[in-house]
Structure formats: structure tokens, C-alpha cells
Symmetry: C2
Subunit: 268 residues, 2 copies
């Protein structure tokens, strides 16, 4: 039994898709969320820079006395998880391993596709993790940099989204994957578009769901779960634009966001 | 006569379009460029955050003993120019005033359109400056957030660019502007697409050209020009990804980029 909160960080707002899954299966856990909206996006930046940002984010969350840290951002999970684990003492989990396990469970033909940011794809983190679990898998990975701004523009259901998605996804149809990992927190918002283009035969993996399940086992294995059964408390911190976070984030979370505080992350 | 270099900063790589114009009309001036590639983009971030970034960028350039600073980024020019001018002693110029003057000179009907990032458009900086020069002007301004990632993806000439541009530009055709300000450093790369959609009757304004001309007059007025007639030296600093800057920046500048150094901008 441990009533300390869970810390979650992301490059911005997308990590709320992970928070939503955690709220669902761990309803008594307090959550402290940090969205790095002043330095968003992470997807196009280097390992060195992302590691530095991820360490600052973790130090901030630890200053809020969190008992575990979830890296909701695929890019930061891919590039910084190992270094964070060697520097900090609390359990730290990323979204890559849970997403990779789900892909291995889902594939029947052993042909798996991965889409994500440049940073995530170039790191080959999903690829390495999937191959560790299933040696003979065939993997095809591709960055889709326009998907994030498309979602943030609110154009997920417009014709232009289908046009861009067709452009990006054509190689996966040729490669004949039966499983596609949505390796960026924003991509699940495009599930309809991606699903229509890939067709019914392809399973789409949302790592956010798998990550919440992984978090639950880790809390229980380490006796860290909160069994107090009182209403959980949620607090949100951002490095810029709390008003925009409140407005846009509500859609990601399907609930009103209260308790947003702006902080200077460069101090941590 | 002053042989110190000119300092130019931008949120990333786009400001090189301004550097290119400066090189053209001030061929004997040394230039120190800083691209804030670790914190790019600026367009969606708040005034407070952009002002903090712009001050750090200026302090860095001043540490290189620059005699004047050009803010090549429209968003930073719109949000931070005044504060920079009150904090630092060297002449500091942004791209808004030169772009606004050019629009006023170009318009015959007095109906002017402005496109830019969210930050630039919401600041109404172009609007205020244009109205100061020409009271009776009718202005219509709109952010086009997908244009930057579209250019960075290298899709400027693809069909999807026309589709997105048609979506954004329709209101300007209805509003019947005869002049359109390309109020973001990346947008001139889309000149073909925007020109085809707007038609021959609309003049497109590229503030980069106007800014270089403004810089030239300020140097001459203040006796700051370099008349030594030896080859100019150019040095480039970025806060992340020097390799990508070298690769992509060459296209913006139409010349090879040498002398790129990565720095930690948060220290300034």
C-alpha cells in the first residue's frame, strides 16, 4: 500500500491518452501529469536533447513525490528510458515494451508495421523489442510526421487526412502487414482513417492501453498500489499555455481538466 | 565602419531565407546565425515563453559580439521585439515592419491578407503595423499551421499541398484580397502552390527580402556597415541536430553550410 501519486510525462498533450487508460484500470491512484508544451514536439529532436528533457521532466515529477514514472511519449520512451532507469530509483516504464508485446500477441503472419515520429522510428526501439520477443518477425517501420499537426489542427476526419494517410500507408499494404503499431500518442485519434485504409484484416495496436496494464502489474508486484478506495486526485503541470492544454486536453481525456499549473521546467 | 558580425536568430531553419537575402545585398557582412532547433516550433507557444526564448537567443548572439540582431522568425518578431529592444542596446529588427511596409506599397484595392503561425496571427502584429501606415486598409488574417510541417516533409509540390492550401486560402479569395503577406519563414517555399490558388491578380509578399533592405539602411544610418570588401564569414549555431540543419538548411540557402556548432541555449 502506497498512497503517493503516479507521475506521467509527455512532450505535450498526447500523453493524456495514456492517462485516460490509467484512470480506467487504476481508479484509486492519484496522478501527477507533466506536459512539456514549451518544447513540444520531441519527435524530430536528437537523443541527447530528448534525454536531457526527459531527465528534467523526471526530476520535476520526483519533486512531487511520485512512486513510479510513466513515459507516455513514444519518442522519449525510445530514446531515454534506459538512461532514466539508471539515474532514478523509482520504477520507470515507457510505452514501447507494452506496445511491442501486444503486437507480438496480435500478429498471425509475423508481418508487423510500425508508424511513429522520426525519432521513434530511427531509434528502432519497437523493432528491437519486438524481435527480442519473436525472432522471426518481419518488420516495416515508417515515420509519419504530418499526422501530429493534422490531429492538432482538428482535421482527423477531413478528406485531406485520408489523402495523407494513403500516401504514408501504401508501403504497409504492399508489405502485407497484419498488425500495425500506432507508435505515437496522437495516432489513435486517427484510428478510423488508418483502419479504413489498412482494412479489416489489419489489427491496430494502441500502446497506451497496454502501458496502463503493465503499470498495474508493476505496482502490484512491488506493493505500491493504492488500496484506499477514495476518489483519486489528478494534477496537471505544463511548461507553456495552460489554457490551450485545458481546452484541447479535455477532448483527449473526455473529461474537464482542473488544477493546471505552469512551471519553468528548465530549472529542474 | 564596423567589422563586427550581424546576428540572426530563428526558431529553427526557416530563418535561413532571411540570411539568404542579407548575403545577397550585404555581401561583406559577417553573419552569426542561431537556430533554436531544440525548442522549435515557436508558432504555437505563448508570448511569455517566446519572449524568454528570444532573450536567451539574443544574449547568446551578443556573446559573439554582434553589432545588430535580426529576428528572422515572424512569431518572435511579433511577440518579443519590443521587450528585446528595451533590454538590449544594439539595433534589433524583426520581419514584421518590413513585411507590413511592402504590403502597403503593393496593395491597390486596400484589401490585404496575412497568413502565418497561430502566434503571429493572434498577436495581430502585422495588422497593427499595416494599419499604422494605411488607416483605411481592410485586413483578413488566418493561421495555417500545417504549412510548416508540409514544407519540412518536402511535400511542397505534392497534390496534398494544393488540397491543404485550398482549404486554408478559400476565405482570402472570398474576401478578395489583392496582396497576401507570407508571414512565416517557411511559406515562401510554397510560393508556387499559393500563387496558383490565389491567381495572378494577387501579389505575394515575402518579408525576408524587405527585412534585408531595412537592415542595410539601419547599418548605413548608424555607420555600422562593414566596408572592408573581404570575403564574409558565416557561422551557424543550433540547439539541436547540427547534421539535419546542415542537410536541410543547404536547400534553404542554396549553398553548402559549414561551421555548425551545437550549443546549450538554456544556459544563456
Amino acid at each position: 500500500m502506497d498512497t503517493r501519486p503516479i507521475g506521467v510525462f509527455d512532450s505535450g498533450i498526447g500523453g493524456l491518452t495514456v492517462v485516460k487508460e490509467i484512470m480506467k484500470i487504476l481508479p484509486y491512484e492519484d496522478i501527477v501529469y507533466f506536459g512539456d508544451t514549451a518544447r513540444v514536439p520531441y519527435g524530430s529532436k536528437s537523443k541527447e536533447t530528448i534525454t536531457k528533457f526527459a531527465k528534467q521532466n523526471s526530476r520535476f515529477l520526483l519533486s512531487k513525490d511520485v512512486k513510479a514514472i510513466v513515459i507516455a511519449c513514444n519518442t522519449a520512451s525510445a530514446l531515454a528510458l534506459e538512461e532514466l532507469n539508471s539515474e532514478f530509483d523509482v520504477p520507470i516504464i515507457g510505452v514501447i515494451k507494452p506496445g511491442a508485446s501486444a503486437a507480438v500477441r496480435a500478429t498471425k503472419t509475423g508481418r508487423v508495421g510500425i508508424i511513429g515520429t522520426e525519432g521513434t522510428v530511427n531509434s528502432r526501439a519497437y523493432e528491437k523489442m519486438i524481435r527480442r520477443l519473436f525472432k522471426e518477425v518481419e518488420i516495416y517501420a515508417l515515420p509519419c510526421p504530418l499526422f501530429v499537426p493534422l490531429v492538432e489542427e482538428g482535421w482527423a476526419e477531413k478528406e485531406v487526412s485520408y489523402m495523407i494517410a494513403r500516401e504514408y500507408l501504401e508501403p504497409f499494404k504492399e508489405f502485407d502487414v497484419d498488425t500495425l503499431v500506432l507508435g505515437c500518442t496522437h495516432y489513435p485519434i486517427l484510428t478510423n482513417v488508418i483502419g479504413k485504409i489498412m482494412g479489416d484484416g489489419v489489427t491496430l495496436i494502441n500502446p497506451a492501453e497496454e502501458t496502463a496494464i503493465e503499470l498495474k502489474s508493476i505496482l502490484f508486484e512491488n506493493g505500491l498500489q493504492n488500496t484506499s478506495k477514495r476518489n483519486a486526485e489528478y494534477s496537471y503541470y505544463v511548461s507553456d499555455n495552460p489554457d490551450k492544454f485545458k481546452r484541447v486536453g479535455g477532448n483527449f481525456l473526455n473529461r474537464e481538466i482542473e488544477n493546471i499549473t505552469k512551471i519553468d521546467i528548465e530549472k529542474y
